[in-house]
Amino acid sequence: MAGYILRRLAQIVPALLLISIVVFALQTASRIDPAHEIVARQNGGFAPPAAIAAKRHELGLDRPLPVQYVRWLGGIVRFDFGRSYRDGTPVSTLLRQRLPATILLAVAALALTLVVSVPLGVAAALWRRVRLFDVAVRVLSVLGASIPGFALALGLIWLFAARLHWLPAFGGPSLRQLVLPAVALAVPQTGLLVRLTRAEVLDVLGSEFVVVAQAKGLPRRTVALRHLLPNALVPILTVAGLMVANLLAGAFIIEFVFAWNGLGRLAVAAVQDGDMPVVLAYVLFVAATFLLVNLVVDVLYAVVDPRLRVKAPWQ
């Protein structure tokens, strides 16, 4: 297992390199000129050509592209992501400042999603003959999965902050400030996961080994926890893993509405301003997150399903 993990970790490096080249090329191909944007912002939209040229030189944007890329890559190897074009703040400082808020929100939303959706999905599958319950779960999960993020977020603020005065209108580090953004982020994920869990449990429910376990008179709890759930869990894990990566990559709509100072807002502002060092660092972070989460999910497969630990004869 350790060798497998090391091999997978080693594969991440070339993948990140490739991604960095693609992103660098895309960002360069975009028509946004960072020098123009900065000068214009500093002067209320007024951007004299001489000032733009001076800024381009200052930022090193007048050098050939390969030189710019290699310089940037050289910095990355030394964990120096460069400085934001906007105000000269080191990008690593920006990421360090924003990451805790993003992780906090992602963890809270994920916890909420899992705590609600897995039991609800399992219950919906097991008691699908209880029509009212089954219909309610299905309708709510479709609603949850399809409601636009900004509408849900504003609706939650309107109800719980402006009308009921139970919770603050915008996000922050305290538990009370965390609730609404986390719920707004968790609701669509919950809707999806409830449906998936229900479908997976239903699928496993028809398996022969479950029928045999029931016929043997095993207690329902034992059948559910030892036979049903572990077998239904593999696809759920995959989706939950992707959710983690999505949540960490930045829920920028939720962050925007709740004024949550996370990576999503940072990235959107950076893209708008052509702040290339921040964009590149963010994309690398997102790519690394997806790759690492996939690795963790693969490892968890083996933990959840022992069959995956056994080598096939041809391996």
Binding site: S30, N43, G45, D87, W127, A161, F170, A259, N261
Partner: protein, 539 residues
């Protein structure tokens, strides 16, 4: 068998209901963890701004009323640094009451001394200013003529655009600790106006990373894009700030700002969505803030259809500005029929009125024939253009859509397109009209906007309009110091713009600001930069 197995006795509907109630209760309890409302903010001071030392002159200011109370303000943006040279949006330093210039524009759009006590235009190249006595920066160091000279030289060195406002070749002569003379290399009649522009906020760089300003409020903590805490600078030359602490929260979404006011999380909300204002009236004070900001469409005069004067004129004649104000701005604004919004102390020559019949006539005369699909054609070119808008000014997109329907009966085809960066999107010249929102009179002087948007190679001349006659007129305006003659030149320039139509003037938005009843002292100002003042009071 499966149904009976999972649903028999212990798992009945009541149990399901009970379980759901328990789950909901748990979530609600978690949500309402603290019983009482906690309004205190957790200060995360990652970047202390300027020197943190208290001013020894505390209490010695003319208004020795002890500051009191805390104001929670929600704004859509905030500064990251207190350095006007390095800060991305240095206008915010003035907006938050931290930065001051030598001169300022008053709420009735008059130029007035600020850090300067008096000012005098000696001749077309010489301007003399006398500073107020006893000026200090936040670190209590003297803000004298030499400090002003160093500040301006640092602005010229660090922000090359400042050269376009006042030439960096300008000689600054320190006549005495409180007086200095500006000698510009060429005649320039608006030096005093341009000294009110935010890139010229007077500052002192103790080190490259530690800059102090002189305004009545100073930042004690800044978290980039998140929050800002301000406290009064007790050594300020004028009245000191009356509010003990201003906690600014950066809330980019306008709806959330309005809801924060309703929820009690904010005392002052800057720029509210018009559609939410009715629900706030009564409980809060809602103020209209007319603005010198104007929504205009800069036309690409180098490609069809707007390389044809008739098409440009027809566009200008074909839009019903009153309907745009009513329908798009929901009444919160005024129509713009001239280069500047009306009512801000500058003579506005109204050159663009609504006359669709004349627009049709012009197009017919110019040879634009109506096609079978309702779009006119001339020499194989359709009367069709891309209308670029950008998300930073949300009113532009609905304006472009409304104009699409207004121009359609005339035979225009308008294709609205939102882009991230208007400057980037227009760079290649592959567009018809760039819809933009521009500060037209940030220094109360019209020359700024002519230089900015209409002079050949102007920094915001997105349509690449060029007319040597206009350039010459602006040059004459630039060198003129007599106010009446300047006004005459300005009118001539506007008339010329009216003939050439390089831009279509649309509307000027009136912003809405709301605050709690216990807050007072807010004076609406047409220029955003003059937001927080020492008149602000809470409680």
């Amino acid at each position: 068998m499966e149904q009976n197995y999972w649903t028999k006795r212990t798992y009945n509907r009541r149990m399901v209901l009970r379980g759901l109630v328990a789950m909901t209760g748990a979530v609600t309890l978690a949500a309402c963890g603290s019983a009482k409302k906690n309004n205190s903010n957790t200060a995360i001071a990652t970047r202390p701004a300027g020197a943190a030392t208290s001013a020894p002159g505390a209490g010695s200011s003319p208004a020795a009323v002890a500051p009191s109370g805390t104001l929670r303000l929600v704004h859509w943006e905030g500064p990251a640094l207190v350095d006007p040279v390095k800060e991305d949006s240095p206008d915010l330093l003035m907006e938050y009451g931290m930065g001051e210039c030598l001169t300022r524009v008053t709420a009735d759009m008059k130029l007035a001394p600020w850090l300067a006590q008096s000012m005098e235009i000696v001749d077309a190249t010489t301007t003399r200013l006398t500073l107020r006595p006893g000026l200090t920066f936040w670190d209590s160091s003297p803000l004298d003529a030499q400090a002003v000279k160093l500040s301006l030289e640092r602005a010229w060195a660090g922000n090359p655009s400042t050269d376009a406002y006042i030439s960096k070749q300008t000689q600054i002569v320190v006549d005495s600790p409180t007086s200095l003379t500006f000698k510009t290399p060429a005649p320039q009649g608006n030096v005093l106006n341009n000294l009110a522009n935010y890139p010229f906020v007077i500052h002192r760089a103790i080190t490259e990373d530690n800059v102090v300003l002189s305004g009545p409020y100073r930042a004690t903590s800044i978290v980039k894009d998140a929050s800002l805490t301000l406290e009064p600078y007790l050594g300020h030359w004028g009245a000191t700030g009356k509010i003990k602490q201003i906690q600014a929260k950066i809330v980019p979404d306008a709806n959330t700002r309005a809801l924060a006011l309703q929820s009690g999380d904010a005392d002052f909300a800057w720029q509210l969505p018009v559609e939410q204002v009715d629900s706030l009236k009564g409980q809060f004070t809602i103020v209209d803030v007319p603005s010198v900001r104007g929504s205009i469409a800069l036309l690409n005069v180098h490609r069809p259809p707007f390389d044809d004067l008739a098409a440009r004129k027809a566009f200008a004649l074909g839009i019903d500005r009153d309907a745009l104000v009513k329908g798009v701005l929901l009444g919160a604004g005024v129509p713009m029929r001239g280069t500047f919004p009306p009512g801000f102390g500058v003579d506005v020559v109204e050159t663009q009125t609504y006359d669709p019949a004349q627009a049709k006539q012009l197009l017919d005369q110019a040879g634009w024939q109506m096609g079978s699909d309702g779009v006119r054609v001339k020499n194989g070119n359709r009367l069709s253009f891309t209308a670029l808008t950008y998300p930073g000014r949300p009113e532009l997109k609905p304006l472009s859509i409304a104009i699409q329907s207004q121009l359609k009966p005339l035979g225009f085809e308008v294709k609205p397109q939102e882009v991230q960066s208007i400057s980037a999107a227009t760079k290649s010249g592959d567009f018809g009209a760039a819809f933009a929102s521009a500060m037209t009179l940030p220094t109360a002087d019209p020359q700024y906007f002519y230089d900015f948007a209409y002079v050949t190679n102007g920094g915001f001349n997105l349509g690449k309009y060029s007319n040597p006659q206009l350039d010459a007129l602006v040059m004459q305006l630039r060198g003129e110091i007599d106010p009446q003659k300047r006004a005459d030149f300005s009118k001539q320039i506007q008339q010329l713009l009216g003939q050439d139509v390089p831009a279509v003037y649309m509307v000027s938005k009136t912003f809405k600001t709301g605050y709690v009843k216990k807050f007072s002292g807010y004076v609406p100002h047409p220029i955003d930069e003059y937001l927080i003042t020492t008149d602000w009071k809470i409680g």
